[in-house]
């Protein structure tokens, strides 16, 4: 009897120790994830002279001065860059999700010859990265005079296999075909059924994929950097990379931190508001166990 009790207490002590270790690991990882961004915010609030003195753990009062300087910088037009990125990211988010849902619905709701092949084909091309066709893409866009245009950054989003796959999986779980039949009986044409009945039913999936498409477009660097040459068309990642190539010693460092902060701010705001649904969306689209 007494041995059993001591076994029990031993188990409890073990569990407590384990919990302490686990929480310590979690706190450390949290620190690691936030530390660099915290430093960024602190440094974005310090003047160039203060930054030259080195490390500081507490923010200073120069935040709005840096913001003004960064916003009005002559060589790096960050407000313009943010506007450009916003235009591209919003358009491609809308186009990607709408057409992916349309494609998924086409395969989910209709029977047609070659349907299985179509589905297999989309699955097969899903993992091919865009870099391996970048050369041909660049060549074609140059030939069509579409460099320095946003069309090559937005319209290809119509064919997004990963988003398609997510939509297809979502429709399988929430969209019974009876609903579509009922709409047909009511005389709704197929296109209207999709726009007015199907889209509202898959709203959560649309929202999640819009966020992911927005974020990946906002952060996209490789293709835009190769396509856009005109200064007034450049997007935020290109400007940030330019910052790296510029002569560093001449820079007001407070401004540099502010540029970086501005580059990630829109996505951070979206994330802080919608983190729950974003995290839920991460798991969907992967293999089921």
């Amino acid at each position: 009897m007494s041995k059993k009790i001591s076994d029990n207490t031993l188990g409890k002590i073990k569990l407590t120790v384990l919990r302490v270790i686990v929480y310590a690991i979690l706190v450390f990882l949290t620190f690691l994830c936030l530390f660099f961004f915290y430093l960024m915010i602190v440094n974005a609030s310090r003047s160039n002279a203060e930054l030259a003195t080195g490390f500081s753990i507490l923010p200073k009062g120069n935040f709005f001065v840096n913001l003004k300087n960064a916003w009005n910088d002559a060589s790096i037009n960050i407000p313009r860059g943010m506007l450009n990125s916003l235009i591209i990211a919003v358009s491609s988010a809308v186009i990607t999700t709408y057409f992916s849902a349309l494609t998924a619905y086409g395969i989910h709701a209709y029977n047609f010859r070659g349907k299985k092949f179509v589905f297999t084909f989309i699955m097969a091309i899903m993992m091919i990265p865009s870099q391996v066709s970048a050369l041909g893409f660049l060549q074609l866009m140059t030939k069509w005079n579409l460099t320095d245009s946003y069309i090559p950054l937005i319209v290809p989003g119509i064919a997004a296999p990963v988003v398609f796959f997510y939509m297809k999986q979502y429709m399988e779980s929430v969209l019974p075909l009876d609903v579509i039949d009922a709409a047909r009986v009511d005389g709704s044409n197929e296109f209207r059924t999709f726009n007015t009945i199907v889209l509202p039913m898959i709203k959560p999936a649309i929202a999640v994929q819009m966020i992911f498409s927005f974020v990946s477009s906002w952060n996209n660097y490789f293709i835009p950097a190769l396509l856009l040459n005109k200064a007034e068309l450049k997007t935020v990642p290109i400007m940030i990379a330019q910052l790296r190539s510029a002569d560093y010693s001449k820079f007001d460092m407070g401004k540099v931190y502010m540029f970086i902060l501005l580059a990630i701010l829109p996505v951070m705001i979206v994330y802080i508001i919608l983190s729950k649904s974003i995290i839920k969306g991460v798991t969907a689209g992967s293999v089921k166990g």
Binding site: I25, L26, L29, C33, F37, N43, A52, T53, G54, F55, S100, L102, Y105, G106, I107, Y110, N111, F112, V118, F119, I122, A124, I125, M126, M127, I128, P129, Q131, S133, A134, L135, Q139, L140, V155, I158, F164, E190, W218, N219, Y221, F222, L226, V236, I240, A241, R244, Y248, M253, I260, A263, V267, M268, S275, I278, I279, V282, T283, S286, V287, G289
Partner: protein
């Protein structure tokens, strides 16, 4: 069999709607053909031609067969075959980030799903660890450069502590630049992997854990004999998609090293190599690199494809079996 099915009344009804299926999937395929398939074929085509510029003078296109591929595997003046060097760099950078990424993610997934540990504040931790995944890689990399540069705060702090002197430069040391890239990749991806693995563990039938524990298995045994085998498909899926992502590694090392892969090209990745040729419009060489990358990612992608389509294959098989029974 197929014909008999199309002959039934139900199928006939859906035949009249079939054209809508084609209409709805048409935009996808038109966009795919124009913006991916044709460029892909052009890329392969270009890899067999010599096309480049010297200054303002355009050379080619001249057909050279496999000449570009041969040139790619030709050792340079120092005797190094650059594509091997950059492939090795890419692999080292990926492994250095991916090993901690998967180890930590696996641990966290186990912690979060353990009913015995009953970790509080899970949604807070998940929110924090996933956050770096959404950060613009170029900006994150620029931030690291700024913090670790010779005029940055980390250097100043370490100098104050007397750990390093003023001549020290993080970006002149191979291990430190590679370490930074690996750290960034780790931070950007471990949260994502944690969440996916967690979903995988939660998808496992809980009664299996219970019966294993009742049979006297300890937690290590449960992990290796129950959790891991059942989690394998998802784990492999994560691993291979991470590999495909690793091969595409570009933004972080490009911005951090200003495209040079400092020091001495030891942090230059395959895509940075490709990007260099694309920038100078050397179509032949960039074509050859693209084709090689396509083959590697295609091979890895085939495995992912098999795994993702497995449930669908099952479904159709079951579907057929069911139909067969009815018939």
């Amino acid at each position: 069999m197929e014909k008999i099915q199309t002959g039934t009344g139900k199928k006939l009804k859906s035949v009249s709607y079939a054209k809508w299926g084609y209409i709805f999937i048409a935009p996808f395929f038109i966009a795919y053909i124009i913006f991916t398939l044709v460029p892909q074929l052009l890329t392969v085509y270009n890899s067999f031609f010599e096309t480049y510029r010297i200054g303002l003078q355009q050379v080619g296109p001249n057909f050279v067969g496999l000449g570009n591929y041969k040139a790619l595997f030709q050792p340079d003046a120092n005797g190094t075959i650059l594509i091997f060097k950059y492939a090795l760099n890419t692999m080292i950078l990926w492994i250095a980030g991916a090993v901690p990424q998967f180890v930590i993610a696996m641990l966290l997934a186990l912690f979060f799903t353990s009913t015995r540990l009953n970790i509080k504040g899970q949604s807070f931790f998940k929110t924090v660890i996933y956050m770096p995944n959404l950060i613009m890689a170029a900006a994150f990399s620029m931030l690291f450069y700024t913090l670790f540069s010779r005029v940055g705060p980390i250097q100043a702090l370490l100098e104050n502590w007397g750990v390093i002197d003023h001549t020290f430069d993080f970006f002149a040391i191979r291990v430190s630049v590679r370490g930074m890239i690996a750290l960034m990749n780790f931070l950007m991806w471990f949260g994502n992997t944690t969440i996916v693995l967690m979903a995988g563990i939660m998808g496992i039938d809980q009664s299996l854990f219970e019966s294993a524990t009742i049979d006297g298995a300890n937690s290590v045994q449960v992990f290796f004999k129950v959790t891991m085998p059942l989690l394998m498909p998802i784990f492999v899926y994560c691993l291979i998609t991470a590999m495909i992502g690793g091969i595409q590694m570009f933004d972080v090392p490009q911005v951090l090293s200003k495209g040079d892969g400092v020091p001495n090209g030891t942090t230059r990745t395959l895509v940075m190599y490709l990007n260099g040729y694309l920038k100078t419009r050397n179509l032949g060489m960039s074509g050859a690199i693209s084709v090689i990358m396509f083959i590697i990612t295609g091979g890895l992608g085939a495995i992912v494809y098999k795994m993702l389509s497995a449930p669908y294959k099952d479904q159709t098989r079951k579907h057929r079996e069911r139909k067969g029974n009815v018939l």
